[in-house]
Every structure is written in C-alpha cells, then in structure tokens.
Subunit: 384 residues, 2 copies
Amino acid sequence: MTAPTTDPNTTTASGTLFEVTEPFVLASGETLDRCQIAYTTYGTLNADKSNAILVCHALTGDQHMIGTHPVTGKGGWWETLAGPGKPLDTNRYFLICANVLGGCMGSTGPSSPDPKTGEIYGLSFPLVTIADMVDAQAKLIDHLGIDTLLSVVGGSMGGMQVLQWAARYPQRVTSAIPIATAAKHSSQNIAFHEVGRQAVMADPDWHGGKYAQQGTRPTKGLAVARMGAHITYMSDEALQGKFGRSLQDRSNISFGFDADFQIESYLRHQGMTFVDRFDANSYLYVTRAMDYFDLAADHDGVLANAFSGATTRFCVISFTSDWLFPTSESRAIVHALNATTAKVSFVEIESSRGHDAFLLDEPELFATVHAFLSSVADREGIPS
Amino acid sequence: MTAPTTDPNTTTASGTLFEVTEPFVLASGETLDRCQIAYTTYGTLNADKSNAILVCHALTGDQHMIGTHPVTGKGGWWETLAGPGKPLDTNRYFLICANVLGGCMGSTGPSSPDPKTGEIYGLSFPLVTIADMVDAQAKLIDHLGIDTLLSVVGGSMGGMQVLQWAARYPQRVTSAIPIATAAKHSSQNIAFHEVGRQAVMADPDWHGGKYAQQGTRPTKGLAVARMGAHITYMSDEALQGKFGRSLQDRSNISFGFDADFQIESYLRHQGMTFVDRFDANSYLYVTRAMDYFDLAADHDGVLANAFSGATTRFCVISFTSDWLFPTSESRAIVHALNATTAKVSFVEIESSRGHDAFLLDEPELFATVHAFLSSVADREGIPS
C-alpha cells in the first residue's frame, strides 16, 4: 500500500518527500523522468554537517525506523539500536533513513503514477537495482548539503546498500557497517525470492501487475510469499524454542487444516498483517533488486576491486544462526576488504535468532556498533 | 492426479490393488468403510516368506520405486538403491512398496470417490496419520501372508513410517532402516508445510477442496508449494554448486521477471511437472500427516518408550548437509534406542546434497545399507 503522497519536498506521514529534479538514469538504461524519495531524519545535523549517518532499510522495511509507524501504528523497525543514548545515538548523530526506490512508503515505485500516462506503473515501472537505490540516496544526501557520511549502516538488503555505497562513493563514506548481509545474493536466496514472486503472480487478483486498475489486491499471494520468507528470517533453533510443536488455543490436534500449531497461527498472522503495509509489485521489484546484487560481477569478478583504494573503515557483523546470510558471506566481504587498504573489523555474534537477530535485542550487536561508531566519531571530532 | 483404479485386488498401471475388507478405523476416530492400497512388489517371496522388505515412500513418492513410472514415464524413485545386485537386492529380497493411505497413486485418498455418496471426497476425506498409513500397510502384509518383515526401509516420511512400524509392530520387524528422518516433525518443517498448504488453498481453482466437482485443478498453487518445498530438499552448497548465479539461456540479466537465473528455471520446471503427477488435496493430507507425527508424544513424551522391548535391529542414517532432517534428529532417535535393549548402528554420511541425498548416487549410503541388510539376512539364513 502506498502511503499518501502530496507535493514534493513537503513533510507528510511518509516523512519528508524529496523530488529528484533531473531525469534519473537507472542501471538498466531506463530513465525515470520524475522520481521522489520519502525519508525521515532523527537528531540534529551539526554545523559542519559531519555527524550524518545514513541508515539503509531491509526488503520490507521503510524510513520509519524510530517512532510510531503511520500505517501500522507500531514502533519503528530499529528502535532496538537507534534513539537517544542508543548505539545509533540521536543525541550525537543525525540519522537519515530513506524509503528505497521501488518501495511503497512514499518513494517512487511500481505503485506510483507514471507521469507520462497518469496511470499506476505496475510492471511498466523499470527494474531498479541496489546501485539505483544508492544513487537515489546520494542525490538526497546532496540535497541535504552533506558531503561525507560519518557512516552508512544497514542489515540484510540494507547491508547490500552499505556495501554498494562504499564501492560507489568511497570518498563520501567515512565508515560502513554492513550487518547480516552478502556481496551477492546466493542461489538459495534467489530461489526463495522466486517462490515468493510466483506466489504473488499466481494470485488472480494480481492481474499481471495491473491490480490497481482492476481495483483488486493480490493479498493471498503476497501473504503466502511473506509466510515463506518469514521462515527464512528465523533459525530452526529459534522456531523450536519459541513455538516447538505447541498447539494454539487447544489441547489436541484437530485432525484438519486449522492452524493447530502456534507456528502456523504465527505465520498466518505475519502474512495477513504484511499485506496491509506492503505493495505486491514493490515486493517483486525489491526482491529482484536483491537477486541481481553481485558486487564482484560489477568489478571484473573480483570483489576486492569494488573496494580498491577505499579509506572507509568497515565493521562487518554476522550472526552464528543466520542461515539466509550466513557468516561465510560476511567472511567473503572481509577477505575482499583485507585484500585492499581498507580497515576492517569483523564480529560474528553468537545468537540463536537467525537472520532477524539484527532487528532484535542483541546486546553484543549494540556493544559492537556503539564501540565502532564512537571510535569513528571521536576520531572525526564529533562531540559526544 | 489419481491413477486409474479398477476392481480391487487386480493389477493395474498403479500396481496391484489390495482392498481392505473390513472397516478401517483411523487414529482420528473416523472410519473408512472401504479403502484400497495400491502396491508393487519386486523380486520373489521365498517359501517361508522370510525375505520380505517393506519400502516406505516419502511425501511425493509412490509405489513405483523401480521401473518406468506409468504417469511420468521416468524411472522409479529408488533405482539408485534397489534392483538386481543393488543394496535392496531384488535377487535376494522380496520388496514391497505401497502407495500411502491418503496418497493419489491408486491408494484411497481425498481424490477417491466416497463410497457413501459416489462423489470425490475432497476435504471430507478423514485426516490420516503416519500410524494409519502403517496400519494399512500391516493389513497388506497380512494379506500377503507375511508374518515378519526382514526389514522396513525408508527415507524422510518413509523413515517416519519405519519408526512407526518398529514402535507399533516390533515383533514383525526384524530390522529397520530409517534414513534422513525424525521421530517428530520440527517447528520449521511444519512451517514450510503450512506455507505450501496455504499456497494451494489460495488458488481459486482449489474451490475449498472441491475442484474435482468444479472441473478445475489448483495447479498454480500446487506448483508454488512444490517450488518452495524443493528448496528445502537441497543444501545451500548443492544449489550453489549446481546453479550458483548462472543465467539461463542468456548472457545478461533481463531487468525483469523472466527466469533469468538457472535456479529459477529449474524450480519453475519442478513446479510445473509436479502438478502432472500429484493431487493437490493429497498434498495437503500427506503433509499434515507428517506435521502430526510425534512418536514420543504417543508414548508419554518419552521416545524410548516407543521402542521398549524391541528386538528390531536398527540402522539409522543421516546426511551432513540435510538441514530439513538434520543429524540431530537422527541422534535423538539413536539416543532413545540406546536407552532400550535395541541394537543400533548409526551412520552420518558426509554429503553436500542435502535432504535429497537419500535418493541420489551416494556410495556410502549404498555400502551402509548393503552391509547392514546382508548381515541381517545372513543371520536369518536368507540365501545370498
């Protein structure tokens, strides 16, 4: 669902809207004549604009990382890590979080009207890549008058953007914190995404992507996609610990297809609530952007080339039980960085919670981000 | 798709049909007034009927384990392991393989006609459990005049049946070979099954299970279910090695939603071909039977109780890269057996191929099954 959008460069429930003033050329070669980016900021930009941190959201995240979400009414997705006194300390840093290009929370995407026709784009919206998302963010950073980011931080697809930032704009990135991510999307991850897309496309209410014109929404297909994806965000151990084989509101199995098990009820709930806040076509586009991400392929097949000459300081973080973006993917990033002049620290955090650990209450994550960022900020002379 | 069924106790393309002659009471308390089991046999039953081995198939398998499949035209699903001179040696043993109750290859299931109404059952078919499948097989074994099985063998859901046989009919099972299986379905596995079922049920051609009456088939939903399940049958490493990020029939990405990647093309093919040989409601029923499987729960929560007093010899086998039925599940079985008087050997086989390794060319699997079975057969005086 696209949040209501009004005039560009104004503040709405989606945050602030930034209109890109010139035609925006995408990696595919297509051009968006007009596009806008919805973003929020937290904290105060200092006089020399040296305390800005860009936070990049994951697949189904958005710019509302702190505070009540205008659509769901729930808290922001990274309140564990960001806020006053937290590792992403809004008392010290100026945080910027923008809805990705292709998203559905105010930034231009497939649910936006095509300025050429006035009709909702649907599948006529051009494919966007992680690099396109980052280029749009760079224009936003220009617009805010910020030359250099103290840090770029993000988990999962957010981490892909962090890596892309460091590769594409190394002089503008003092430090980078890619968390639970990879420099390329794996075969297994492409596979899971493809199943999700096929679930959406199998829904007759999808109408070849033209559901806006038909007055329908492919909620069933999108819910199935979300249910499947959600399993991959948790570890086997976490599912076993949280749900096991416990039954939901009953003492015996029903010998039927009700949600007998708590895990079934939980997944159905995840699917049902997701469709209220996310656009099905955006799900197709953003998953595809992740599939296409392969930083080495863009640099003659050598990942280290992506970071050659970088002065950025890196803090790479993974979680032991994350099987979607396993530690081996983070190690590959670290090895590539070690082959350059980059300064790298790497922490594999012991956690049983799987991929979603980066969103949860993980003290070692907090301590790691706090220590690394403080050190970078101290070195840059940012008052604490 | 239900294979054509004719008169009971006759041989058809589905193999031989065995009609259960008395009402069959299920674990749910429901009764099937009539039911039939389609089965095939391979090799020759010896005079004292002591060389019979029951082979139990997995979720989407059937009785056609060797030879050309009557529906797909492909080879049997366990030709790697079974046949003349193979570990399940048809020159020495008499192999029996029956389509499970609830299946769709000739045994009674939701796509069978309800004898009370003449209409296809659909969701009015009662839920069946792994124990029900095993009880139906026991009636077939009675019918064949076999008192004791030299072995019961199976992988995945087949392994669940093996364990259930050993627990339910210990005196009739000389040896048991549960492969790549578990004594209970895990939370994660229930979760994956639930997503598959929701994909089927989201297909409007499913019609609340009454698609036979509507002249439709929920092929899109079932294909999505199969695609998702198929990912879980392979390891991350196997997907990376077999497909990686290789493109399908093209040198560049399409910036669209075609099957750019080989893994996408492969999964779509798996989904499309599956629906030609499997009934959607059977998929719901058989996945549910697996979800409900919890052998310890049926024995006061103590798995060892399921095997108390067993004289069965066990050979438990797992594969290192199987994340759907990981080695820890096999270890739990072994630990329970060790707490009884049972004789157990346990082999964890090094393989990169994930859960499906039990169906593939795995020499250590062949050597293990061959050695174990030969030893059991020698002890029982079966001529080699």
